[in-house]
């Protein structure tokens, strides 16, 4: 196992530190540098801010593993993973811009407050020049706002809300993960194909921003295919027993149930829906079906057999057979003994993309890095041909439509890929009404 030494403020490690220490005490302000936390002394510090406590701790743990792997690869360790398949050849395995990559970790607790505190400590104490991670949109948007103010780059982790690159987009923030609109755009044609165009859908939606944007997207996309929406019921985030929301569905005249839930909510609502035997019923002369628009394999596992045959979308899945995915699964699986999740994949890509952008820009300056990322087209990272759109810093790539596997061969074999929806089909205009209202602003180097 390759070890990276504990992180110090890079600032103090080099010769500048020795000089300052010997000389008389000097005052200087943070404005002395060209940008916040400019690395010096041969190392650069990245901050990985993931949930380590609370309900999303396992996803956070998987993200952390992927970050460790990415750092190892960047520093030239291991088998190089997706660095070998990445279309850009700027990365050489000698760190970033010759600086050895070090990292610090923190706990977001899946609370925007705690996440910001943790990110701040990385920026202020540890001198992190980039923050990445997160497992919910609320946290991602909060930390993105902070990074904009502090003048560091934010490479979002798992965040699916339209708002992250919609009305809350920021010049210093970049999202590789897909979003609610893309989920809907990819899912709707498959659903139409499978279940027909004359369907009546009942939505159960988590009562917070992510749930609303997701529901809005799905409703629009399915109605465009001829479906009608019978009802949309908002469920409190704290709900653990969804029986009272699921029970009325059967008599509402709907023949499809859409669960706009994530994580624990998704597991519990899906379990309740299956328990009520909804999928065994015939309504309007059709088989009753359930749809879970955003799947996470780690979470789907918690629902056990209930996911079988249920459609949803995902950003990436380990069973993909392109070279990039295969290389990533191999190096992750060899190191940890199990395949990576989509959260692990997206943060690994984000770390590589950041490093690559630094190399191409020749600086860690957020403005330079941002410029290098904007409009950057690449492939070989497991999602086909991808582009970081300059207008909103959203990555556009193929989206996977998946369904719960009927006959899993192992405990990781929960989902099967039904269709890889091509990028063109999920793209939208930057001023699409679901994403309107925000402005990117100007990049902030902090100094």
């Amino acid at each position: 196992m390759s070890l990276i030494k504990p992180t110090r403020r890079g600032l103090l490690k080099g010769g500048a530190f020795a000089g300052a220490a010997l000389a008389a005490p000097t005052f200087f302000t943070s404005q002395a540098n060209a940008y916040t936390n400019a690395p010096s002394g041969g190392s650069v510090t990245l901050g990985f801010n993931v949930p380590q406590t609370g309900p999303y701790a396992d996803e956070g743990g998987d993200e952390l593993r992927a970050y460790e792997l990415a750092v190892e690869h960047l520093n030239g360790g291991g088998d190089g993973g997706m660095m070998n398949t990445f279309s850009s050849n700027a990365l050489k395995g000698n760190g970033i811009l010759g600086n050895k990559v070090e990292y610090v970790t923190g706990d977001t607790q899946t609370k925007s407050d705690a996440a910001r505190a943790s990110a701040k400590s990385m920026i202020e104490k540890d001198g992190a020049v980039m923050i990445s991670g997160g497992s919910s949109s609320g946290v991602a948007i909060a930390v993105q706002g902070l990074c904009q103010e502090a003048g560091v780059i934010f490479m979002a982790g798992l965040t699916h809300s339209n708002d992250t690159t919609g009305k809350d987009k920021k010049a210093n923030g970049f999202r590789h993960f897909f979003n609610g609109y893309m989920s809907a755009a990819a899912l709707a044609p498959v659903l139409e194909k499978m279940y027909g165009s004359d369907r009546r859908a009942y939505h159960l939606t988590a009562d917070y921003t992510w749930g609303w944007t997701q529901q809005e997207s799905i409703q629009a996309a399915t109605e465009a295919k001829g479906w009608t929406t019978v009802n949309n019921v908002l469920t409190p985030l704290a709900t653990t027993d969804f029986s009272s929301y699921v029970a009325p569905v059967l008599n509402s005249g709907a023949d499809i149930l859409v669960l706009n839930h994530y994580g624990g909510n998704m597991i519990n609502s899906l379990t309740a829906a299956v328990q009520f035997g909804l999928r065994d019923k015939m309504v309007n002369g059709k088989q009753f079906e359930i749809v879970v628009p955003l799947y996470s394999r780690l979470m789907a596992k918690g629902a056990g057999e209930n996911v079988k045959g249920i459609f949803g979308s995902t950003n990436w899945h380990w069973s993909l057979q392109d070279e990039g995915s295969k290389a990533f699964v191999k190096s992750f699986g060899t190191k940890y003994g199990f395949p990576p999740s989509q959260a692990a994949h997206t943060v690994y890509c984000q770390t590589l993309l950041y490093a690559d952008a630094c190399e191409r820009a020749g600086t860690h300056n957020p403005c330079g890095v941002g410029e290098a990322l904007e409009g950057f087209k690449f492939s070989g990272l497991g999602n086909g041909d991808v582009e970081y759109r300059a207008d909103d810093h959203q990555c556009f790539k193929d989206v996977l439509v998946v369904k719960g596997k009927e006959n899993p061969t192992s405990e990781f074999d929960v989902l099967e890929v039904v269709e890889v929806t091509p990028r063109a089909q999920v793209e939208y205009a930057p001023d699409h009404p679901m994403f309107a209202g925000g402005e990117l602003g100007k990049c902030n180097p902090g100094a």
Binding site: F17, P25, E124, K125, G138, Y208, T209
Partner: protein, 392 residues
């Protein structure tokens, strides 16, 4: 000094000196040493310690003096934060209007909630406050999103109105142009000390808050509050109406919470609904009891301890542990890394839980009792001749 007797004046001066020297106190280790991981002298943590110190000082006025255990003070923290951010959005990025409104709004909320909740006592009161706080949290997270921006939290945007700010006003919270995030760093002998404007604003307000609480503790009003805790029946039959006293204490502590909320938003202009969750209200209970309920300085120590643990322990990952135990043979290194990893990083909650249990079991009076015991042990020689206190 300032209407305090000699002993209290000395106490206040010590507290002021301690607060002002926080950048040194919390940064004891050299940057190059392996222990620098335990340095906490960076702006955000120092600000948080001061702010949660204010929160706990205020909570102590209610809980420490009257014995009424409120689980709902998080609601006032949240109200304070939302009010402050709305002021930043509507009026000015100067923190003064934000903080003033935060204190006023939380005072109004505390008056309403307190008026209803204080009709009951004991655990019935606790559950009433808890219910109010959870209702506020649930609504702020969902239905009230137009006001609170729900899950994401209320943020300032470049497009905000900000009536009072001119074209050249800073875009970040400031005090008459002095931005809260401005820091001055001082490197000396391998140490790095950070002097942050925001921290000193918090520290100044915290000292004022502490001074006010000191005055309340020493005042007839404080005496009446202690009487409420001791024997409400006797109080009634002594011609005193306990209800307005407790309500006043509730409102004062609610305003302290609002002040803390306003300051949180001033240091970092975002107000999240999580601030209203009962766990945050529980956190301040823990801080107060951990430090020593009813003591003046205890709650501040408790706040410091919890925030330090939260921010420092959660950042110690296995990688860092491997660095520490590098000198050991492979097998032992892995064992120690495994062992320590249970309590740090994603295991920091376990450390927190064990800490509560230890303190409550062995130090019922909180950290202040621990400090007292240590002082007694080391101070025995000099105190041997002095007559012992009959009350003990």
């Amino acid at each position: 000094m300032l209407g305090l007797n000699k002993k209290d004046s000395k106490f206040l001066i010590i507290v002021i000196l301690l607060t002002l020297s926080t950048p040194f106190v919390m940064q004891p280790f050299s940057e190059a040493s392996a222990l620098s991981q335990f340095n906490g002298g960076y702006p955000d943590l120092m600000q948080r310690v001061a702010i949660f110190g204010i929160f706990a000082i205020g909570f102590n006025i209610l809980f420490g003096l009257t014995g009424y255990l409120s689980f709902g003070h998080a609601a006032f923290l949240g109200v304070g934060s939302y009010s402050a951010v709305w002021m930043f959005k509507l009026l000015s990025m100067n923190i003064i209007p934000g903080i003033v409104l935060a204190v006023i709004m939380s005072g109004i909320f505390a008056l309403l909630i307190g008026y209803v909740s204080l009709r009951r006592s004991g655990i019935y009161f606790s559950i009433l406050t808890l219910a109010f706080a959870q209702m506020s949290y649930n609504l702020a997270y969902s239905v009230l999103t137009p006001i609170t921006n729900g899950e994401t939290g209320l943020q300032v945007r470049p497009s905000d109105v900000r009536l009072l700010d001119g074209a050249n006003a800073p875009d970040y919270p400031n005090l008459f142009g002095w931005t809260m995030s401005t820091s001055y760093k001082w490197e000396v002998w391998g140490h790095l000390f950070t002097f942050n404007v925001g921290f000193y604003v918090c520290a100044f307000i915290a000292i004022c808050a502490f001074y006010l609480s000191l005055r309340i503790f020493r005042s007839p009003f404080g005496l009446m509050l202690r009487a409420v805790k001791s024997n409400q029946n006797r109080m009634s039959y002594t011609g005193l109406n306990p209800r307005p006293y407790t309500l006043a204490a509730f409102v004062i502590s609610g305003m302290y919470a609002g002040l803390a909320g306003g300051l949180l938003a001033s240091m970092d202009p975002l107000a999240g609904a999580e601030r209203m969750q009962w766990t945050v209200g529980g956190e301040v209970v823990v801080m107060t009891i951990l430090g020593g309920a009813g003591t003046l300085l205890g709650p501040v120590l408790g706040a410091g301890a919890i925030k330090y643990l939260e921010n420092i322990f959660s950042k110690i990952n296995e990688n860092i542990l491997h660095g520490w135990f590098d000198f050991l043979p492979e097998g032992m290194e892995n064992f120690f890394v495994w062992l320590f990893a249970r309590f740090t990083g994603d295991g920091w909650h376990l450390t927190l839980g064990l800490l509560f249990m230890m303190v409550v079991i062995f130090l019922p009076g909180g950290l202040m009792e621990g400090a007292d015991r240590i002082r007694k042990r080391f101070g025995r020689k000099s105190d041997d001749n002095s007559p012992s206190n009959p009350a003990e």
